[in-house]
């Protein structure tokens, strides 16, 4: 299949976040991570558990296979068999994330959602981030408010920030000091461009190109998971 879009590459990059997850609750926030999680379940990770974003666990055919109201989500968070993909108004070099407020927390210049579950998620189980618009304002030197906990502040036995997927690249923290590393750039994006859109220096050795979706994955994305191509609104090509 041809004419692969940037959005489709982001979907498969998000699907790859769940490689090896097995019987784990995938909690993707936002459209592209949700498509990625569903794609993973239909292909390489058939054991993944997926919620409808309300209180039910659903099979790919949308039949209810489980009940997971918020109180039980909190149990899963503490129990740890969960991989959340959160958004981030800001994310920094060590993976600290901010969804709370911009500016001084006492009187912010811009109030956002609040801490939500970010402190508990990041201290309890694997967490990744999805950034639909990679820019120096999002990839910042230091976040204004630490909602999700990064590697330089990590405590406890279960902290695990896995990857950051953006509209330009895939990044992780697989460096000696757990600072952010450029893993791959999406086709057509240069290392320089990613660096220019990031406020801090990235480790960028052995950068590869993000893989293309397979024909099977493209078919699933285009005909089954997102036939109306809503993905192109989140990540225009």
């Amino acid at each position: 299949m041809s004419d692969i879009t940037r959005a489709e590459i982001c979907v498969t990059a998000c699907a790859d976040l769940f490689a090896g997850a097995g019987e784990t609750l995938a909690s993707p926030m936002g459209l592209i991570p949700s498509l990625g999680a569903k794609l993973a379940r239909l292909t390489t990770e058939p054991d993944l558990l997926l919620s409808d974003g309300e209180a039910f666990l659903l099979t790919p055919e949308s039949t209810v296979e489980g009940w997971l109201p918020y109180r039980q989500v909190f149990d899963v968070v503490a129990h740890g068999r969960r991989h959340v993909v959160m958004g981030a108004n800001q994310v920094d070099r060590f993976g600290n994330q901010n969804i709370s407020a911009i500016g001084d927390h006492a009187k912010p210049t811009r109030q956002l959602l609040g801490f939500r579950g970010a402190p508990g998620n990041t201290i309890n189980h694997r967490t990744s981030y999805w950034v639909p618009r990679h820019s120096p304002r999002v990839l910042v030197e230091a976040v204004d408010v630490v909602s999700g906990v990064g590697y330089d502040r990590a405590v406890g036995p279960f902290h695990d920030i896995h990857r950051v997927v953006t509209n330009l690249a895939v990044l992780d923290f697989n460096t000696p000091d757990h600072s952010m590393r450029l893993v791959s750039t999406h086709p057509g994006v240069s290392v320089d461009e990613v660096q220019k859109q990031t406020s801090f220096p990235l480790t960028a050795t052995d950068v590869v190109e993000t893989r293309l979706p397979t024909d099977e994955e493209l078919e699933l994305i285009r005909t089954k998971l997102d036939p109306d191509a809503k993905r192109d609104k989140e990540v225009p090509s």
């Binding site: 309300e54 209180a55 039910f56 009940w67 109201p69 918020y70 109180r71 909190f74 968070v77 503490a78 709370s100 407020a101 927390h105 006492a106 009187k107 912010p108 210049t109 811009r110 109030q111 956002l112 959602l113 609040g114 801490f115 939500r116 579950g117 970010a118 402190p119 508990g120 990041t122 201290i123 309890n124 408010v145 630490v146 909602s147 999700g148 906990v149 502040r153 990590a154 405590v155 406890g156 279960f158 902290h159």
Partner: protein
């Protein structure tokens, strides 16, 4: 058995200056809006509001009722940010205790169990503790010696919740997919008021849907549509058009007075 039926305005008159008021539901879902409106019409002020926040927060901030807000988030779900909450924060109008969602639940649970605190990992390493220096940590007395957050009890003077059905004695039932934390709000509070879509003599449906029993409830208000414009499935979904109208008015002070008047009419 006692008949606990009362009106929303009678509940409103129970709310006194300076009280800590817990509000059930979640975001823009099954919020006790009829009871919130009763607070708006009352003279109560300087409230501490404890909530998984939705439009209840915006309405109470708009009316100047809130001294302090305790929350994990404030969101209208389909509209991410509540304009009144943003305004209250960005002008420094309210004091806040901003928590992780799980810490919030743990605080309610500690209050429900009459404990001073319960331990939780959430919060460690984050800025929750930085902005709430009154929150302390505790070290495990066992061999692991792990340091944990000692989440203090979130004790409530009053809990306000909205369920689908109730009887006149205070037993109450949710029929949607999620109980949220309405039972915990009631257990954490001294005075507990439930509004409902309909007061019934006997309950239909599986007994697991009977979330509140009459030990947990002091007053019952029959308020059909009493969660609107938030959702109260299966009785009704969120009224997205009315929510948009709320958000647009909240974002434009010239429109607000008129909207508020119609809301309380």
């Amino acid at each position: 058995m006692r008949d606990k039926r009362m009106t929303a305005d009678e509940v409103g008159s129970e709310i006194k200056d300076g009280m800590t008021v817990g509000i059930g539901g979640w975001g823009s879902r099954r919020k006790p809006m009829a009871l919130v409106k009763a607070i708006l019409k009352s003279n109560a002020k300087d409230l501490t509001v404890v909530t998984y926040g939705g439009p209840d927060v915006g309405l109470l901030c708009a009316a100047g009722k809130v001294r302090k807000l305790v929350y994990g988030f404030v969101s209208l779900d389909t509209i991410p940010y509540d304009p009144w909450f943003k305004r209250a924060r960005e002008t420094g109008a309210i004091e806040v205790l901003e928590l992780d969602e799980g810490m919030f639940q743990t605080g309610l649970k500690a209050a429900a169990h009459r404990l001073p605190f319960l331990p939780i990992r959430a919060g460690l390493g984050s800025d929750v503790l930085k902005y709430a220096p009154e929150l302390k940590t505790v070290r495990s007395p066992y061999d692991d010696g792990e340091e944990l957050v000692a989440m203090p009890a979130l004790k409530l003077d009053v809990a306000l919740v909205h369920l689908n059905r109730a009887d006149r004695h205070g037993n109450a039932q949710y029929l949607g997919p999620d109980p949220y934390f309405d039972d915990l709000f009631c257990l954490a509070a001294d005075r507990r008021y439930v509004s409902c879509e309909q007061i019934v003599e006997t309950f239909d449906g599986p007994p697991q849907t009977l979330l509140l029993n009459r030990m947990m409830v002091d007053g019952v208000v029959e308020a059909p549509g009493g969660a609107g414009f938030t959702s109260c499935v299966p009785d009704y979904p969120r009224d997205e058009a009315r929510q948009r109208e709320y958000a647009e008015a909240a974002a434009d002070l010239e429109k607000w007075a008129d909207f508020e008047k119609r809301l309380l009419a």
